[in-house]
Symmetry: C2
């Protein structure tokens, strides 16, 4: 048996061992997840920039099509077209504060992936766990397509397709497909598909779960294969990525301001305009859209026939089709916002579209400014049941239920936490950059980014795995 197959079997078994108390078997999901031919065919690449340490260590792993930035270590793992973005890791000499604790860092933080398989998964941000300030670990974990592991160390977890774990350390847990959790620390939990859960103990708790039959057309599992409308949508647009290397950006974009950056692995189709301080990350897809000043399109985003007025955040995996965003709109992870040419989705300023929200309409929809929006919205009535004005939410002190959403705790704290975070995202992405303040973010720094490729063994016992490599400045 070839080494790739052995390694994969070992990872699958390891995840199952960790999940044995939940009586969860990942095997039905993994059948066709790793295609040996693709593992052999695709190069991996790493970013070099003066802003982040070049410090990579790959041992006994397959890395096909994956991207690495900053300090990363991958051991006994299989990564397929995953993005391991260590550009926000904590740095040596800095201090990490958590509640009353203040932790001085004596080394640069590292993303340390071991005994895991990550498929089209985005790993980003830094470990928010004070127990492991210098090591953002991902151990014995299997993540399926378009999962996001965001500032979330994990050990012994299964993430279904489109699952997001955000600022949460997870042990021996299952995060169902299209579920989003942000809960500090979880153990031995099994999160059902389509759960949106934001919990800050003693402060607030937001909970929503899609009706299984309503989520079903968008994301479901069929004979262990993920399928549904979200997959079909991505599939339809795949072709353009194959052409990325042949495209000359200048053909389709009149001007890109010096303060903006487009990743070379992004797809930019006509007629797209890019304003100052815009950040477009790798694997983003823009078509016939206008991105206003300080807007961003993160990894795996699709923005089609849409306008973003400015300072809008399109978080990892969010999709906007036939949508018009006023300024300062936040669209959370993996949200799917789809209007039609005749029925556009208009989102008022300062709106927060919660992660994993689906807005899928065939009549025009207007979301008034300053609203929080969640769940599944197919028309204006759904919007009533799946939104609340931030003003109203701010007044909540104990609890609040609307439709399938239940909120407990302090509404003002919840709103403030969200708004602070959006502000922080815009800052680190360079949305507010001007020369005078010298406050460059990713949009400006990525202009100094170059990408180097690395390749796997292409035959023999080790076919599809990469040579063991240490790459440092």
């Amino acid at each position: 048996m070839k080494e790739l197959k052995k390694l994969y079997d070992r990872i699958v078994q390891q995840v199952n061992i960790n999940l044995r108390e939940l009586d969860f078997d990942v095997r039905p999901f993994v059948e066709n997840l790793i295609d040996p031919e693709k593992m052999t065919k695709f190069y991996a690449f790493y970013g070099i920039t003066p802003d982040h340490p070049l410090d990579l260590e790959f041992s006994h792993s397959g890395l096909a099509g994956s991207y690495f930035l900053g300090k990363c270590k991958v051991t006994n793992s299989l990564l397929y077209k995953s993005d391991i973005r260590g550009d926000e890791l904590k740095r040596e000499g800095s201090t990490f504060t958590f509640q009353n604790f203040s932790i001085p860092l004596t080394t640069d933080e590292v993303i340390d992936i071991r005994d895991s398989a990550l498929i089209k998964t985005l790993v980003h941000n830094y470990s928010h766990d004070p127990e492991t300030a210098e090591r953002f670990f991902i151990r014995s974990t299997l993540a399926m397509q378009f999962a996001n592991i965001h500032g979330s160390p994990m050990d012994g977890c299964f993430l279904g397709p489109f699952a997001t774990v955000d600022l949460t350390t997870a042990h021996d847990s299952v995060i169902g497909r299209y579920s989003y959790i942000q809960a500090g620390e979880v153990h031995h939990l099994r999160i059902k598909p389509g759960t949106i859960w934001v919990n800050s103990p003693n402060n607030f708790n937001f909970y929503y779960r899609y009706k299984p039959e309503a989520l079903q057309p968008y994301v479901h599992m069929e004979d262990g294969q993920p399928s549904g409308l979200l997959f079909d949508f991505i599939e339809e647009h795949q072709g353009a990525f194959q052409r990325v290397f042949n495209m000359v950006n200048l053909d389709v974009i009149d001007t890109i301001p010096a303060s903006a950056s487009l990743d070379r692995y992004a797809v930019i189709l006509p007629k797209t305009t890019i304003a100052e301080n815009v950040l477009v990350s790798q694997r983003a897809y823009l078509q016939n859209s206008a991105l206003g000043k300080g807007a961003n399109a993160q990894e795996n985003c699709y923005i089609i026939n849409s306008t973003l007025a400015g300072f809008d955040v399109t978080a990892h995996g969010a999709k906007l089709i036939e949508a018009d965003l006023e300024e300062n709109v936040f669209v959370g992870f993996n949200s799917f916002v789809r209007g039609t040419a005749e029925s556009r989705v208009c989102i008022g300023q300062r709106c927060i579209i919660m992660p994993h929200t689906i807005i899928d309409i065939d009549e025009p929809l207007e979301i008034p400014p300053g609203h929080l929006v969640w769940g599944l919205i197919k028309n204006a009535r759904d919007l009533q049941e799946n939104s609340v004005s931030l003003t109203e939410l701010t007044k909540i002190e104990k609890s609040f239920t609307r439709g399938r959403m239940h909120f407990e705790g302090n509404g003002a704290q919840f709103v403030k936490a969200f708004q602070d975070r959006i502000q922080h995202i815009l800052e680190v992405n360079g949305a507010f950059y001007d020369e005078e303040h010298n406050n460059a973010g990713h949009a400006q720094k990525n202009q100094n980014l170059s990408l180097n490729t690395i390749q796997p063994f292409r035959f023999g016992e080790m076919e599809g795995l990469y040579p063991n490599m240490i790459i440092k400045l």
Copy 2:
């Protein structure tokens, strides 16, 4: 000052320190040797094969366009389009015998390049020095274009363009342009340009030196720049190498036998035919030629409008134009054999064309079978003065002078040493391969070779240098 410049200055100074007793200054030669733009632009690549250990270590070095195979280590060095071929290094567990000594190897031999600059240089074979069986070192050495370092550890040396050091450990020595030495061990020697010297102490000594004015049109230095006919010839054919990546071999070659191998960085132009067990190495150039069974074209060879009957060796850097070789002809390193369409060079079987021989004719020339040929030959009369039949040479017991060539010692030993070596070259290259004897050589093994690329820093202080890398199985 950028790191690349600092490093180059450091290397140049180091070589000068080593050569101070010879009162030799390399600085006039190095002015335009390293072009920072090209150092940044060109990828390097390494071969992966089941037959050789993958064990590479690059620190603080530029590697532009260079090729690595087998166990190599490069530290504080600049390599430009050099070939570091560790496919004949000694292996752990083997025994290296030298005279009465028998040295057991406890590790794989490594090519260890440090504080050196190598420009379009070929490094091949293994260290023939019993003092350093496991480490083929190249230290504090500057090698100019088309130098060959063949089984020759060296420390503190300058190799002029087209210089070859073969099976010779060299310390603090200068090897002039187009000189070939094979002398076991040399110290503090300054070899004048155009010297051909083969010395086996107590056995034989072959010595020839080109008239300076005769060598001048072929290779000379002008304002520190190498120039002359050999450079012009290479320059003329450079264009084809830029197209190598676009070429489909099948368009120009009817059939390549399964037992032959063409490197993907070789140029093969119509109408070229390749027989069984042929080896064509990277940077070889073939045009309108026929290579018979077991023939080979090594690195930097040019074979144009020529026929090789079979089992012919075209050693590193040898060039054949309008030439017909019968079977078992050996053409040594960097030889230049040029006929014209009307005046072909015909070389009889079992001839040995000494390394660094120039045959450049405009009247037909026939070299009879079984002759040793050396030096500069422009017509039949020159051939008389620059050749001897192997039969005649075998009878020499004390000394023999012909033209500018002087031979001392045992002619039979000299002929046998050469013939044994040619036989060995054919064997390791796989010329005699058949399935039954399972005696695969490079021609067959290279079919399992894949090439992976690595890239330099493309901006900043480190521009043109490579990240520090360790790459292992």
